[in-house]
Symmetry: C2
Subunit: 275 residues, 2 copies
Protein backbone atom coordinates (compact mmCIF):
# COMPACT_ATOMS: atom_id res chain seq x y z
CA UNK A 1 0.00 0.00 0.00
CA UNK A 2 1.55 3.33 -0.98
CA UNK A 3 1.75 6.12 1.58
CA UNK A 4 -1.06 8.28 0.23
CA UNK A 5 -0.35 11.82 1.34
CA UNK A 6 2.37 14.30 0.52
CA UNK A 7 3.96 16.17 3.40
CA UNK A 8 4.09 19.98 3.66
CA UNK A 9 5.66 21.79 6.62
CA UNK A 10 5.18 25.42 7.63
CA UNK A 11 6.76 27.58 10.23
CA UNK A 12 3.89 29.30 12.03
CA UNK A 13 5.21 32.85 12.05
CA UNK A 14 1.88 34.03 10.76
CA UNK A 15 0.79 34.86 14.27
CA UNK A 16 4.12 35.26 15.94
CA UNK A 17 4.75 38.94 16.16
CA UNK A 18 3.21 40.83 19.04
CA UNK A 19 5.41 43.86 19.01
CA UNK A 20 8.50 43.45 16.96
CA UNK A 21 10.83 41.96 17.99
CA UNK A 22 8.78 39.98 20.48
CA UNK A 23 7.10 36.63 19.86
CA UNK A 24 3.61 36.45 21.23
CA UNK A 25 4.44 33.35 23.25
CA UNK A 26 6.84 35.55 25.20
CA UNK A 27 3.99 37.99 25.83
CA UNK A 28 1.99 35.06 27.20
CA UNK A 29 4.92 34.25 29.49
CA UNK A 30 5.17 37.85 30.69
CA UNK A 31 1.46 37.88 31.54
CA UNK A 32 1.96 34.61 33.42
CA UNK A 33 4.77 36.15 35.48
CA UNK A 34 2.36 38.84 36.67
CA UNK A 35 -0.31 36.27 37.50
CA UNK A 36 2.09 33.99 39.37
CA UNK A 37 3.98 36.76 41.23
CA UNK A 38 1.94 36.53 44.48
CA UNK A 39 3.11 32.90 44.84
CA UNK A 40 6.74 33.98 44.29
CA UNK A 41 7.65 36.81 46.69
CA UNK A 42 11.33 36.12 45.91
CA UNK A 43 10.82 37.44 42.36
CA UNK A 44 10.76 41.02 43.71
CA UNK A 45 14.53 40.88 44.10
CA UNK A 46 15.44 38.40 41.42
CA UNK A 47 16.11 39.16 37.76
CA UNK A 48 14.64 38.88 35.21
CA UNK A 49 11.43 38.81 37.25
CA UNK A 50 12.10 41.99 39.27
CA UNK A 51 12.37 44.17 36.15
CA UNK A 52 9.38 42.48 34.55
CA UNK A 53 7.18 43.16 37.55
CA UNK A 54 8.24 46.82 37.45
CA UNK A 55 7.10 46.90 33.81
CA UNK A 56 10.64 47.19 32.42
CA UNK A 57 10.51 44.43 29.81
CA UNK A 58 13.55 45.72 27.95
CA UNK A 59 15.75 45.45 31.03
CA UNK A 60 14.33 42.03 31.93
CA UNK A 61 15.22 40.69 28.50
CA UNK A 62 18.65 42.33 28.49
CA UNK A 63 19.93 39.03 29.92
CA UNK A 64 19.26 37.44 26.52
CA UNK A 65 18.51 33.75 26.14
CA UNK A 66 19.27 32.74 29.75
CA UNK A 67 16.73 35.33 30.95
CA UNK A 68 14.12 34.09 28.46
CA UNK A 69 14.86 30.52 29.51
CA UNK A 70 14.23 31.42 33.16
CA UNK A 71 10.95 33.11 32.28
CA UNK A 72 9.75 30.18 30.19
CA UNK A 73 10.66 27.61 32.86
CA UNK A 74 8.94 29.64 35.58
CA UNK A 75 5.75 30.04 33.57
CA UNK A 76 5.46 26.82 31.59
CA UNK A 77 6.27 24.24 34.27
CA UNK A 78 5.19 23.15 37.75
CA UNK A 79 1.71 22.20 36.54
CA UNK A 80 0.12 19.39 34.58
CA UNK A 81 -0.18 19.44 30.79
CA UNK A 82 -3.98 19.74 31.17
CA UNK A 83 -3.59 22.79 33.44
CA UNK A 84 -1.13 24.39 31.05
CA UNK A 85 -3.47 23.80 28.12
CA UNK A 86 -6.31 25.51 30.00
CA UNK A 87 -4.02 28.44 30.83
CA UNK A 88 -3.13 28.86 27.15
CA UNK A 89 -6.78 28.63 26.09
CA UNK A 90 -7.84 31.26 28.64
CA UNK A 91 -5.05 33.61 27.55
CA UNK A 92 -5.69 33.12 23.82
CA UNK A 93 -9.39 33.87 24.38
CA UNK A 94 -8.70 37.18 26.12
CA UNK A 95 -5.32 38.59 25.05
CA UNK A 96 -5.25 41.22 22.31
CA UNK A 97 -2.50 42.31 19.96
CA UNK A 98 -1.16 45.67 21.21
CA UNK A 99 -1.34 47.33 17.78
CA UNK A 100 -4.40 45.86 16.06
CA UNK A 101 -6.39 45.13 19.24
CA UNK A 102 -7.31 41.82 17.64
CA UNK A 103 -6.99 38.36 19.13
CA UNK A 104 -3.76 36.68 18.05
CA UNK A 105 -5.77 33.88 16.48
CA UNK A 106 -7.29 36.45 14.09
CA UNK A 107 -3.81 37.38 12.91
CA UNK A 108 -2.71 34.37 10.91
CA UNK A 109 -1.75 35.38 7.37
CA UNK A 110 -4.61 35.07 4.91
CA UNK A 111 -2.31 33.82 2.08
CA UNK A 112 -0.91 31.13 4.40
CA UNK A 113 -4.42 29.99 5.37
CA UNK A 114 -5.39 29.83 1.70
CA UNK A 115 -2.25 27.93 0.71
CA UNK A 116 -2.74 25.38 3.51
CA UNK A 117 -6.33 24.75 2.40
CA UNK A 118 -5.25 24.50 -1.24
CA UNK A 119 -2.56 21.95 -0.39
CA UNK A 120 -4.93 19.82 1.70
CA UNK A 121 -7.42 19.84 -1.17
CA UNK A 122 -4.61 18.46 -3.35
CA UNK A 123 -3.46 15.47 -1.38
CA UNK A 124 -1.12 17.12 1.10
CA UNK A 125 -0.97 16.53 4.82
CA UNK A 126 0.00 19.86 6.39
CA UNK A 127 2.18 20.30 9.48
CA UNK A 128 3.33 23.24 11.60
CA UNK A 129 7.06 22.99 12.38
CA UNK A 130 7.84 25.89 14.69
CA UNK A 131 10.48 27.00 17.15
CA UNK A 132 7.59 27.87 19.47
CA UNK A 133 6.39 25.62 22.27
CA UNK A 134 4.38 22.63 21.09
CA UNK A 135 2.05 22.76 24.11
CA UNK A 136 1.50 26.48 23.52
CA UNK A 137 0.50 26.04 19.87
CA UNK A 138 -1.65 22.93 19.93
CA UNK A 139 -4.67 24.47 21.66
CA UNK A 140 -5.32 26.83 18.72
CA UNK A 141 -3.68 25.52 15.51
CA UNK A 142 -6.78 23.55 14.48
CA UNK A 143 -9.00 26.62 14.68
CA UNK A 144 -6.50 28.96 13.02
CA UNK A 145 -4.76 26.76 10.43
CA UNK A 146 -6.95 23.66 10.23
CA UNK A 147 -3.99 21.69 11.60
CA UNK A 148 -4.79 19.19 14.40
CA UNK A 149 -2.57 18.77 17.50
CA UNK A 150 -0.83 15.65 16.18
CA UNK A 151 0.42 17.64 13.15
CA UNK A 152 2.20 20.27 15.24
CA UNK A 153 5.96 19.98 15.81
CA UNK A 154 7.65 22.40 18.18
CA UNK A 155 10.02 22.95 21.07
CA UNK A 156 9.15 21.14 24.27
CA UNK A 157 9.94 20.61 27.91
CA UNK A 158 10.09 17.20 29.55
CA UNK A 159 6.97 15.73 31.13
CA UNK A 160 6.52 12.97 33.68
CA UNK A 161 3.65 10.55 34.27
CA UNK A 162 2.24 10.57 37.82
CA UNK A 163 -0.89 9.35 39.52
CA UNK A 164 -2.32 12.11 41.73
CA UNK A 165 -5.37 11.32 43.86
CA UNK A 166 -5.93 8.22 41.78
CA UNK A 167 -5.91 10.21 38.53
CA UNK A 168 -3.06 10.01 36.00
CA UNK A 169 -1.47 13.32 35.02
CA UNK A 170 1.54 14.48 33.03
CA UNK A 171 3.59 16.97 35.01
CA UNK A 172 5.57 19.66 33.16
CA UNK A 173 9.16 19.52 34.42
CA UNK A 174 11.54 22.51 34.49
CA UNK A 175 13.81 20.83 31.97
CA UNK A 176 14.14 21.37 28.24
CA UNK A 177 13.32 18.36 26.09
CA UNK A 178 13.88 19.65 22.55
CA UNK A 179 14.57 22.90 20.67
CA UNK A 180 12.81 22.79 17.32
CA UNK A 181 14.86 25.48 15.59
CA UNK A 182 17.63 25.61 12.97
CA UNK A 183 19.35 22.18 12.85
CA UNK A 184 16.63 20.96 15.24
CA UNK A 185 13.90 21.32 12.61
CA UNK A 186 14.98 18.36 10.42
CA UNK A 187 15.44 16.35 13.64
CA UNK A 188 11.91 17.28 14.78
CA UNK A 189 10.47 16.53 11.34
CA UNK A 190 12.12 13.10 11.32
CA UNK A 191 11.06 12.37 14.87
CA UNK A 192 7.41 13.44 14.52
CA UNK A 193 6.65 12.85 10.87
CA UNK A 194 9.21 10.27 9.77
CA UNK A 195 8.92 11.41 6.16
CA UNK A 196 10.63 14.20 4.25
CA UNK A 197 8.41 17.13 3.23
CA UNK A 198 8.15 17.87 -0.47
CA UNK A 199 7.07 21.45 0.28
CA UNK A 200 8.23 23.71 3.10
CA UNK A 201 7.70 27.37 3.93
CA UNK A 202 9.59 29.48 6.45
CA UNK A 203 10.51 33.09 7.13
CA UNK A 204 13.78 33.13 9.05
CA UNK A 205 17.22 31.58 9.43
CA UNK A 206 15.57 29.24 11.93
CA UNK A 207 13.94 27.58 8.92
CA UNK A 208 17.08 27.24 6.79
CA UNK A 209 17.83 23.61 7.66
CA UNK A 210 14.17 22.61 7.24
CA UNK A 211 14.33 24.03 3.71
CA UNK A 212 17.67 22.32 3.00
CA UNK A 213 16.26 19.02 4.29
CA UNK A 214 13.21 19.44 2.06
CA UNK A 215 15.34 20.35 -0.96
CA UNK A 216 17.56 17.28 -0.53
CA UNK A 217 14.82 14.79 -1.45
CA UNK A 218 14.44 13.39 -4.94
CA UNK A 219 11.92 14.60 -7.50
CA UNK A 220 10.11 17.93 -7.62
CA UNK A 221 10.31 20.03 -4.42
CA UNK A 222 9.11 23.45 -3.31
CA UNK A 223 11.05 25.62 -0.86
CA UNK A 224 9.60 29.01 0.09
CA UNK A 225 10.45 31.98 2.31
CA UNK A 226 8.20 34.84 3.36
CA UNK A 227 10.21 38.07 3.41
CA UNK A 228 8.75 40.62 5.82
CA UNK A 229 8.99 43.78 3.72
CA UNK A 230 5.88 45.71 4.69
CA UNK A 231 6.46 48.18 7.52
CA UNK A 232 3.02 49.73 7.08
CA UNK A 233 0.77 46.69 7.09
CA UNK A 234 3.00 44.37 9.14
CA UNK A 235 6.75 44.69 9.79
CA UNK A 236 9.87 45.12 7.71
CA UNK A 237 12.97 43.34 8.95
CA UNK A 238 15.52 40.82 7.81
CA UNK A 239 19.30 40.69 8.08
CA UNK A 240 19.86 42.68 11.28
CA UNK A 241 16.86 41.70 13.38
CA UNK A 242 17.88 40.16 16.70
CA UNK A 243 14.83 37.87 16.70
CA UNK A 244 13.46 36.24 13.56
CA UNK A 245 16.55 37.17 11.55
CA UNK A 246 16.42 36.33 7.84
CA UNK A 247 19.95 36.52 6.46
CA UNK A 248 21.72 33.27 5.54
CA UNK A 249 18.49 31.59 4.45
CA UNK A 250 17.75 34.55 2.16
CA UNK A 251 21.18 34.20 0.53
CA UNK A 252 20.67 30.48 0.09
CA UNK A 253 17.18 31.02 -1.37
CA UNK A 254 18.56 33.48 -3.90
CA UNK A 255 21.51 31.23 -4.77
CA UNK A 256 19.36 28.13 -5.20
CA UNK A 257 16.27 29.64 -6.75
CA UNK A 258 13.89 28.98 -3.84
CA UNK A 259 10.70 31.04 -3.92
CA UNK A 260 10.88 34.28 -1.92
CA UNK A 261 7.57 36.02 -1.20
CA UNK A 262 7.84 39.79 -0.95
CA UNK A 263 5.06 40.53 1.49
CA UNK A 264 4.63 44.16 0.44
CA UNK A 265 4.52 43.49 -3.30
CA UNK A 266 2.96 40.03 -3.42
CA UNK A 267 0.23 40.01 -0.78
CA UNK A 268 -3.01 41.94 -1.40
CA UNK A 269 -4.36 40.98 2.01
CA UNK A 270 -2.26 40.13 5.04
CA UNK A 271 -4.81 39.41 7.79
CA UNK A 272 -8.27 37.87 7.32
CA UNK A 273 -9.99 40.86 8.97
CA UNK A 274 -8.73 43.20 6.23
CA UNK A 275 -10.88 41.51 3.61
Amino acid sequence: MPVPERIATFDNDGTLWAEQPMYFQLLFALDRVKTLAPQHPEWKDKEPFASLLKGDVKRALAGGEPAIFQIVMATHTGMTTAEFEQTVKDWIDTAKHPKTKRHYTEMAYQPMIELLAFLRANGFKTFIVSGGGIEFMRPWTEKVYGIPPEQVVGSSIKTKYEVRDGKPVLVCLPELNFIDDKTGKPVGINSHIGRRPILAFGNSDGDQQMLEWTAAGSGTRFMGLVHHTDADREWAYDRTSSIGRLDKALDEAQAKGWTVVDMKKDWKVIYPFEK
Copy 2:
Protein backbone atom coordinates in the same frame (compact mmCIF):
# COMPACT_ATOMS: atom_id res chain seq x y z
CA MET B 1 -13.62 24.08 13.80
CA PRO B 2 -13.86 20.86 15.82
CA VAL B 3 -11.03 18.36 15.76
CA PRO B 4 -12.63 15.77 13.51
CA GLU B 5 -11.01 12.45 14.31
CA ARG B 6 -11.01 10.21 17.34
CA ILE B 7 -7.68 8.81 18.49
CA ALA B 8 -6.98 5.09 18.92
CA THR B 9 -3.59 3.75 20.03
CA PHE B 10 -2.28 0.21 19.70
CA ASP B 11 0.80 -1.51 20.92
CA ASN B 12 2.22 -3.39 17.93
CA ASP B 13 2.91 -6.73 19.54
CA GLY B 14 1.14 -8.40 16.67
CA THR B 15 4.44 -9.03 14.98
CA LEU B 16 6.77 -8.89 17.94
CA TRP B 17 7.52 -12.44 18.86
CA ALA B 18 10.26 -14.18 16.96
CA GLU B 19 10.98 -16.94 19.40
CA GLN B 20 9.51 -16.39 22.76
CA PRO B 21 10.81 -14.59 24.71
CA MET B 22 12.62 -12.60 22.02
CA TYR B 23 11.31 -9.56 20.19
CA PHE B 24 11.95 -9.65 16.48
CA GLN B 25 13.72 -6.28 16.59
CA LEU B 26 16.35 -8.01 18.72
CA LEU B 27 16.69 -10.68 16.06
CA PHE B 28 17.31 -7.90 13.55
CA ALA B 29 20.01 -6.53 15.86
CA LEU B 30 21.63 -9.97 16.20
CA ASP B 31 21.76 -10.35 12.43
CA ARG B 32 23.31 -6.87 12.21
CA VAL B 33 26.05 -7.87 14.67
CA LYS B 34 27.04 -10.70 12.34
CA THR B 35 27.04 -8.37 9.32
CA LEU B 36 29.07 -5.68 11.07
CA ALA B 37 31.54 -8.01 12.78
CA PRO B 38 34.29 -7.73 10.11
CA GLN B 39 34.47 -3.99 10.83
CA HIS B 40 34.76 -4.69 14.58
CA PRO B 41 37.61 -7.15 15.25
CA GLU B 42 37.49 -6.10 18.93
CA TRP B 43 34.07 -7.81 19.28
CA LYS B 44 35.78 -11.21 19.28
CA ASP B 45 36.91 -10.61 22.85
CA LYS B 46 34.15 -8.30 24.05
CA GLU B 47 30.79 -9.31 25.52
CA PRO B 48 28.00 -9.46 24.60
CA PHE B 49 29.38 -9.57 21.05
CA ALA B 50 31.82 -12.43 21.59
CA SER B 51 29.10 -14.87 22.67
CA LEU B 52 26.76 -13.70 19.93
CA LEU B 53 29.35 -14.34 17.25
CA LYS B 54 29.88 -17.84 18.66
CA GLY B 55 26.11 -18.39 18.30
CA ASP B 56 25.47 -18.40 22.04
CA VAL B 57 22.56 -15.94 22.19
CA LYS B 58 21.51 -17.02 25.66
CA ARG B 59 24.89 -16.21 27.14
CA ALA B 60 25.10 -12.92 25.25
CA LEU B 61 21.78 -11.81 26.70
CA ALA B 62 22.63 -13.02 30.19
CA GLY B 63 23.87 -9.50 30.82
CA GLY B 64 20.26 -8.31 30.73
CA GLU B 65 19.31 -4.79 29.75
CA PRO B 66 22.86 -3.37 29.63
CA ALA B 67 23.83 -6.10 27.16
CA ILE B 68 20.76 -5.40 25.01
CA PHE B 69 21.53 -1.69 25.18
CA GLN B 70 25.06 -2.31 23.90
CA ILE B 71 23.75 -4.46 21.05
CA VAL B 72 21.16 -1.89 20.03
CA MET B 73 23.63 0.99 20.12
CA ALA B 74 26.19 -0.96 18.09
CA THR B 75 23.65 -1.91 15.43
CA HIS B 76 21.29 1.09 15.25
CA THR B 77 23.80 3.97 15.26
CA GLY B 78 26.84 5.24 13.40
CA MET B 79 24.88 5.68 10.16
CA THR B 80 22.34 8.09 8.75
CA THR B 81 18.59 7.65 9.22
CA ALA B 82 18.27 6.94 5.48
CA GLU B 83 20.91 4.21 5.69
CA PHE B 84 19.25 2.67 8.73
CA GLU B 85 15.86 2.72 6.97
CA GLN B 86 17.36 0.86 4.00
CA THR B 87 18.95 -1.69 6.33
CA VAL B 88 15.57 -2.35 7.98
CA LYS B 89 13.81 -2.64 4.62
CA ASP B 90 16.39 -5.13 3.32
CA TRP B 91 16.14 -7.22 6.46
CA ILE B 92 12.33 -7.18 6.55
CA ASP B 93 12.25 -8.28 2.91
CA THR B 94 14.45 -11.30 3.54
CA ALA B 95 14.20 -12.41 7.20
CA LYS B 96 11.84 -15.25 8.07
CA HIS B 97 10.19 -16.25 11.32
CA PRO B 98 12.06 -19.30 12.69
CA LYS B 99 8.85 -21.26 13.39
CA THR B 100 6.43 -20.33 10.61
CA LYS B 101 9.07 -19.55 7.95
CA ARG B 102 6.96 -16.52 7.06
CA HIS B 103 8.08 -12.93 6.74
CA TYR B 104 7.47 -10.97 9.94
CA THR B 105 5.23 -8.60 8.04
CA GLU B 106 2.90 -11.52 7.29
CA MET B 107 2.52 -12.17 11.00
CA ALA B 108 0.43 -9.25 12.20
CA TYR B 109 -2.72 -10.46 13.93
CA GLN B 110 -5.71 -10.72 11.61
CA PRO B 111 -8.17 -9.48 14.32
CA MET B 112 -5.95 -6.44 14.95
CA ILE B 113 -5.79 -5.63 11.22
CA GLU B 114 -9.59 -5.93 11.01
CA LEU B 115 -10.16 -3.77 14.08
CA LEU B 116 -7.81 -1.05 12.80
CA ALA B 117 -9.65 -0.95 9.47
CA PHE B 118 -13.02 -0.90 11.22
CA LEU B 119 -11.97 2.01 13.44
CA ARG B 120 -10.62 4.03 10.50
CA ALA B 121 -13.89 3.46 8.66
CA ASN B 122 -15.65 4.93 11.70
CA GLY B 123 -13.84 8.22 12.17
CA PHE B 124 -10.79 7.08 14.10
CA LYS B 125 -7.20 8.03 13.42
CA THR B 126 -5.11 4.99 14.37
CA PHE B 127 -1.62 5.08 15.91
CA ILE B 128 0.98 2.51 16.89
CA VAL B 129 2.44 3.25 20.35
CA SER B 130 5.16 0.70 20.92
CA GLY B 131 8.19 0.13 23.09
CA GLY B 132 10.01 -0.84 19.89
CA GLY B 133 12.25 1.50 17.94
CA ILE B 134 10.37 4.12 15.94
CA GLU B 135 12.88 3.99 13.05
CA PHE B 136 12.63 0.20 12.99
CA MET B 137 8.82 0.18 12.72
CA ARG B 138 8.12 3.02 10.33
CA PRO B 139 9.42 1.31 7.16
CA TRP B 140 6.69 -1.37 7.33
CA THR B 141 3.72 -0.18 9.48
CA GLU B 142 1.91 1.32 6.48
CA LYS B 143 2.02 -1.95 4.58
CA VAL B 144 1.16 -4.14 7.57
CA TYR B 145 -1.29 -2.00 9.57
CA GLY B 146 -2.26 0.80 7.19
CA ILE B 147 -0.59 3.21 9.61
CA PRO B 148 1.70 5.84 8.03
CA PRO B 149 5.10 6.79 9.54
CA GLU B 150 3.79 9.96 11.20
CA GLN B 151 1.32 7.87 13.22
CA VAL B 152 3.99 5.66 14.77
CA VAL B 153 5.22 6.42 18.30
CA GLY B 154 8.14 4.46 19.70
CA SER B 155 11.46 4.44 21.47
CA SER B 156 14.22 6.43 19.81
CA ILE B 157 17.86 7.38 19.78
CA LYS B 158 19.09 10.94 19.28
CA THR B 159 19.87 12.18 15.78
CA LYS B 160 21.96 15.09 14.58
CA TYR B 161 21.71 17.22 11.43
CA GLU B 162 24.91 17.36 9.36
CA VAL B 163 25.82 18.38 5.83
CA ARG B 164 28.02 15.69 4.23
CA ASP B 165 29.45 16.34 0.76
CA GLY B 166 26.92 19.14 0.36
CA LYS B 167 23.99 16.88 1.22
CA PRO B 168 22.05 17.14 4.50
CA VAL B 169 21.78 13.96 6.54
CA LEU B 170 20.54 12.96 9.98
CA VAL B 171 23.17 10.93 11.82
CA CYS B 172 22.04 8.31 14.37
CA LEU B 173 23.92 8.99 17.61
CA PRO B 174 24.79 6.30 20.19
CA GLU B 175 22.58 8.00 22.76
CA LEU B 176 19.07 7.13 23.89
CA ASN B 177 16.46 9.80 23.25
CA PHE B 178 13.27 8.28 24.63
CA ILE B 179 11.94 4.98 25.98
CA ASP B 180 8.33 4.56 24.93
CA ASP B 181 7.35 1.98 27.53
CA LYS B 182 5.33 1.93 30.78
CA THR B 183 5.15 5.52 32.13
CA GLY B 184 6.82 6.63 28.90
CA LYS B 185 3.77 5.72 26.80
CA PRO B 186 1.51 8.55 28.01
CA VAL B 187 4.51 10.89 27.62
CA GLY B 188 5.04 9.68 24.04
CA ILE B 189 1.33 9.94 23.26
CA ASN B 190 1.24 13.50 24.56
CA SER B 191 4.42 14.46 22.74
CA HIS B 192 3.51 12.94 19.36
CA ILE B 193 -0.28 13.09 19.30
CA GLY B 194 -1.15 15.85 21.78
CA ARG B 195 -4.58 14.33 22.33
CA ARG B 196 -5.81 11.60 24.63
CA PRO B 197 -6.89 8.36 22.95
CA ILE B 198 -10.49 7.24 23.53
CA LEU B 199 -9.54 3.66 22.65
CA ALA B 200 -6.31 1.83 23.43
CA PHE B 201 -5.19 -1.79 23.09
CA GLY B 202 -2.13 -3.41 24.61
CA ASN B 203 -0.88 -6.83 25.71
CA SER B 204 1.63 -6.33 28.52
CA ASP B 205 2.48 -4.35 31.65
CA GLY B 206 4.33 -1.98 29.31
CA ASP B 207 0.89 -0.81 28.17
CA GLN B 208 -0.61 -0.32 31.63
CA GLN B 209 -0.05 3.43 31.84
CA MET B 210 -1.27 3.98 28.27
CA LEU B 211 -4.52 2.26 29.26
CA GLU B 212 -4.77 4.26 32.50
CA TRP B 213 -4.15 7.49 30.57
CA THR B 214 -6.86 6.52 28.07
CA ALA B 215 -9.30 5.58 30.84
CA ALA B 216 -8.80 8.92 32.65
CA GLY B 217 -10.50 10.99 29.94
CA SER B 218 -14.16 11.99 30.14
CA GLY B 219 -16.98 10.25 28.28
CA THR B 220 -17.06 6.74 26.86
CA ARG B 221 -13.68 5.01 26.60
CA PHE B 222 -12.42 1.58 25.56
CA MET B 223 -9.41 -0.11 27.13
CA GLY B 224 -8.37 -3.53 25.86
CA LEU B 225 -5.73 -6.17 26.52
CA VAL B 226 -4.81 -9.17 24.40
CA HIS B 227 -4.01 -12.14 26.65
CA HIS B 228 -1.64 -14.60 24.98
CA THR B 229 -3.29 -17.89 25.94
CA ASP B 230 -2.73 -20.07 22.90
CA ALA B 231 0.43 -22.18 23.13
CA ASP B 232 -0.49 -24.13 19.99
CA ARG B 233 -1.24 -21.40 17.50
CA GLU B 234 0.92 -18.63 19.06
CA TRP B 235 2.30 -18.47 22.61
CA ALA B 236 0.91 -18.76 26.13
CA TYR B 237 2.51 -16.51 28.72
CA ASP B 238 1.60 -13.81 31.18
CA ARG B 239 2.58 -13.22 34.80
CA THR B 240 6.00 -14.84 34.89
CA SER B 241 7.39 -14.04 31.45
CA SER B 242 10.64 -12.08 31.63
CA ILE B 243 9.81 -10.17 28.43
CA GLY B 244 6.32 -9.00 27.59
CA ARG B 245 5.04 -9.76 31.09
CA LEU B 246 1.30 -9.28 31.64
CA ASP B 247 0.65 -9.18 35.37
CA LYS B 248 -0.27 -5.86 36.96
CA ALA B 249 -2.15 -4.67 33.89
CA LEU B 250 -4.20 -7.90 33.90
CA ASP B 251 -5.16 -7.30 37.54
CA GLU B 252 -6.12 -3.72 36.78
CA ALA B 253 -8.13 -4.80 33.73
CA GLN B 254 -10.07 -7.31 35.82
CA ALA B 255 -10.63 -4.82 38.64
CA LYS B 256 -11.79 -2.04 36.34
CA GLY B 257 -13.72 -4.02 33.77
CA TRP B 258 -11.42 -3.39 30.83
CA THR B 259 -11.85 -5.79 27.92
CA VAL B 260 -9.51 -8.81 28.01
CA VAL B 261 -9.24 -10.83 24.81
CA ASP B 262 -8.51 -14.51 25.38
CA MET B 263 -6.59 -15.33 22.25
CA LYS B 264 -7.30 -19.08 22.38
CA LYS B 265 -11.02 -18.76 22.96
CA ASP B 266 -11.82 -15.53 21.13
CA TRP B 267 -9.76 -15.59 17.94
CA LYS B 268 -10.78 -17.90 15.10
CA VAL B 269 -7.82 -16.78 13.02
CA ILE B 270 -4.54 -15.42 14.36
CA TYR B 271 -2.44 -14.77 11.26
CA PRO B 272 -3.74 -13.68 7.84
CA PHE B 273 -2.11 -16.68 6.12
CA GLU B 274 -4.28 -19.09 8.13
CA LYS B 275 -7.45 -17.92 6.39
